[in-house]
């Protein structure tokens, strides 16, 4: 008999399941709107030109393959902190931060979660917005923390339940951990406006909460890296010492290279050194030291003026295409004769859109039209192209009229 007889079959990943079913479908009009990866207007993966140039530079330099330090590539982590905080940030210039390289967004989140579990003794509770990225919950749980929620998305309006969020946050026990999506909220695409962020910062400060920002879409949301980092920077300026996880999967298209970073804003540089030493102690028994390739590509792009400029143009291009598809989807829905209010599609931002479609409607889209999305009605706008937006609008109209 086996040691593993009692091991249960793990449930299939809900998002992967969408892609699996999509692959099996033989309908030529099929659309995969579950995919969390950017596609160009031909529905193809897009390797950024600045990435190709950085890769060519790397290839020509013939570097060795020696281990990185546990905390990662220094040029990368410094540039990553500067990108998030802004070059004029007092926190950045004073050096009162530590940034370690992480395995893209997930790995960075997990390092942070483990760090908080070990060193943030005030609370075991992490407050997530309702809803949040599906993987947040198991990440924090596996790190040994508990999950709570605050109101965020209003399904009636398909937009932010700001008063609900403020009410709930005002009641969070002091010194709990609150997670905020810096921009392009996943899965809803609903972000607070700047005035709302100001109020959120005030209440969070009043409740003395530890703020954990997840920024997976800087630049990818609005097309402007500074605008997308506004909330993060505002909170820090208000004296809130946040922790932050960043991903370069989407904004540099480095998905499989796993480039990311975890940052702790500290009281001073000396504290930052101590925090760094503890982060390394956490990382070493996880995977020893991080993979170089993605971080080096990102570092070259961020630190080479010409490539950085090119990157800003390309990331804006991706954001613009998504914004364009949102606009086209809404106008196509109108053309189909839909009487529903689809404004939320253009109000929302980033890769994902919470359509407001009900499970039965989603079911019909999958079965009758071969349009694949997750049951919660979330679609990835990245999967929409000028070639299929008409079909999508038609199908949505059919199931909602």
């Amino acid at each position: 008999s086996s040691w593993w007889s009692h091991v249960e079959m793990g449930p299939p990943d809900p998002i992967l399941g969408v892609t699996e079913a999509f692959k099996r479908d033989t309908n030529s009009k099929k659309m995969n709107l579950g995919v969390g990866a950017y596609r160009d207007d031909n529905g193809k993966p897009y390797v950024l030109s600045c990435v190709r140039k950085a890769e060519a530079m790397i290839a020509s330099k013939k570097m060795d393959k020696e281990y990185l330090p546990i905390g990662g590539l220094a040029d990368f982590t410094r540039a990553s902190a500067e990108l998030a905080l802004g070059e004029n940030s007092e926190a950045f210039k004073s050096g009162r931060y530590v940034t370690v390289q992480g395995i893209s967004g997930t790995g960075s989140l997990r390092i942070g979660a483990n760090f908080l579990q070990r060193f943030f003794k005030s609370s075991r509770d992490v407050y997530l917005p309702k809803p949040s990225w599906g993987n947040h919950t198991p990440i924090f749980r596996d790190a040994g923390l508990q999950l709570q929620a605050y109101r965020y998305y209003d399904p009636k309006t398909c937009s932010l339940d700001f008063s609900g969020a403020m009410d709930d946050i005002a009641k969070i026990p002091e010194k709990s951990i609150i997670l905020l999506h810096a921009c392009a909220h996943n899965p809803t695409g609903v972000d607070p406006r700047q005035e709302q962020w100001k109020e959120l910062a005030a209440v969070v400060k009043k409740r003395n909460l530890l703020v954990y920002f997840d920024m997976a879409y800087q630049g990818f949301a609005s097309g402007d890296i500074n605008r997308d980092a506004w909330a993060v920077r505002h909170f820090i300026e208000q004296g809130i010492n946040i922790v932050l996880s960043q991903s370069y999967a989407k904004n540099m298209g480095l998905y499989g290279e796993r480039a990311g970073a975890f940052t702790v804003i500290c009281s001073d540089a000396e504290e930052a050194k101590r925090v760094e030493s503890q982060l390394k102690i956490l990382i070493r028994p996880m995977y020893s030291n991080p993979p170089l390739n993605g971080a080096r590509i990102a570092s070259i792009i961020l630190n080479t003026p010409d490539l950085r400029k090119e990157w800003l143009v390309e990331v804006k291009g991706m954001a613009d295409r998504i914004i364009g598809m949102r606009t086209q989807l809404v106008s196509n829905l109108k053309k189909e004769g839909s009487s529903h209010n689809w404004q939320h599609i253009t109000d929302q931002i980033g890769m994902f859109c919470f359509t407001g479609l009900k499970p039965e409607q989603v079911e019909r889209l999958i079965k009758e039209f071969s349009i694949y999305m997750t049951k919660d009605g979330r679609i990835s706008m990245a999967g929409v192209t000028s070639g299929n937006v008409g079909y999508l609008a038609h199908a949505i109209h059919q199931v909602t009229k």
Binding site: V7, K65, T106, G107, N135, R258, S288, P291, G294
Partner: protein, 374 residues
Amino acid sequence: AYRTDEGQPWVLPVVKKVEQLIANDGSLNHEYLPILGLPEFRANASRIALGDDSPAIKENRIGSVQSLGGTGALRIGAEFLRRWYNGNNNTATPVYISSPSWENHNSVFVDAGFKDIRTYHYWDAAKRGLDLQGLLDDMEKAPEFSIFILHACAHNPTGTDPTPDQWKQIAAVMKRRFLFPFFDSAYQGFASGSLDKDAWAVRYFVSEGFELFCAQSFSKNFGLYNERVGNLTVVGKDADNVQRVLSQMEKIVRTTWSNPPSQGARIVATTLTSPQLFAEWKDNVKTMADRVLLMRSELRSRLESLGTPGTWNHITEQIGMFSFTGLNPKQVEYMIKEKHIYLMASGRINMCGLTTKNLDYVAKSIHEAVTKIQ
């Protein structure tokens, strides 16, 4: 890390070639790998460990998880064992680590949640070799179902491996006492120069019907240190069990790094799936192993010629990157302070640090340390 005879890092020629192929392949992109990793990498990495003719592969009862280096593979295996081995979430299951061992082994299992981490006898300082009796005694006394971390070859830090006969004795006790073998294989090919020879112990355990884990690293044998290429090979009783195990490992991976980095896995997969590149790789590996073996024999012969007190056959009997010289802490201090030769307080030296240029100096320094300091 390996060093050439010039004391430099060495990017394997086959790796340079394959990187060029990858760079020139315009069809490749940077999309996410599946959670468990690149399929061609996983299957071939496990095949390297278990052998082409492995009964476990033929019977379709193996699984693989691409991991971030050997460390990542160990961690995923440890996390899984803590959740699912010997009951559910049984943090009390004893985990046995050799004395001494790679220092990170302890941290991996502690951070995975195990509460009872013990050592098993391994290094006999007096005879400068394996304390087999101590090891077997520890296994006899270990609670049933205990987990044992075994170094597949080139034990780190002692360089001392059990002989095939000794492995057979170890396996017999483990089978009888229901102990779980978790192999750490960081040096396959790099130790003896032969992939098959270095995998003998793992394959023997498989042939004896064990269910086991094997954490593989491609850091040293491919020189891909900073790309973090590793693989956790799972051998189970049958396909159904392995499938369920993998589905749970997938959940663990998802909250640790979501999916693994693609660059290193692509390099290894491309190499292992091309007969020509595979042959070239084996040749590159042998080059590294042979240089280390040469340094061992050269150091030993110099020490014996100098008449350095003590016996020095352990230098050539030990295998892999490291050697437990037998120098005591005071002698080590002398080496560092007076001779500027850096080694660990344990007397462990990295054989890769030896070159034809420094052999004489190192031998003379050891001779001085041993004769001047007791």
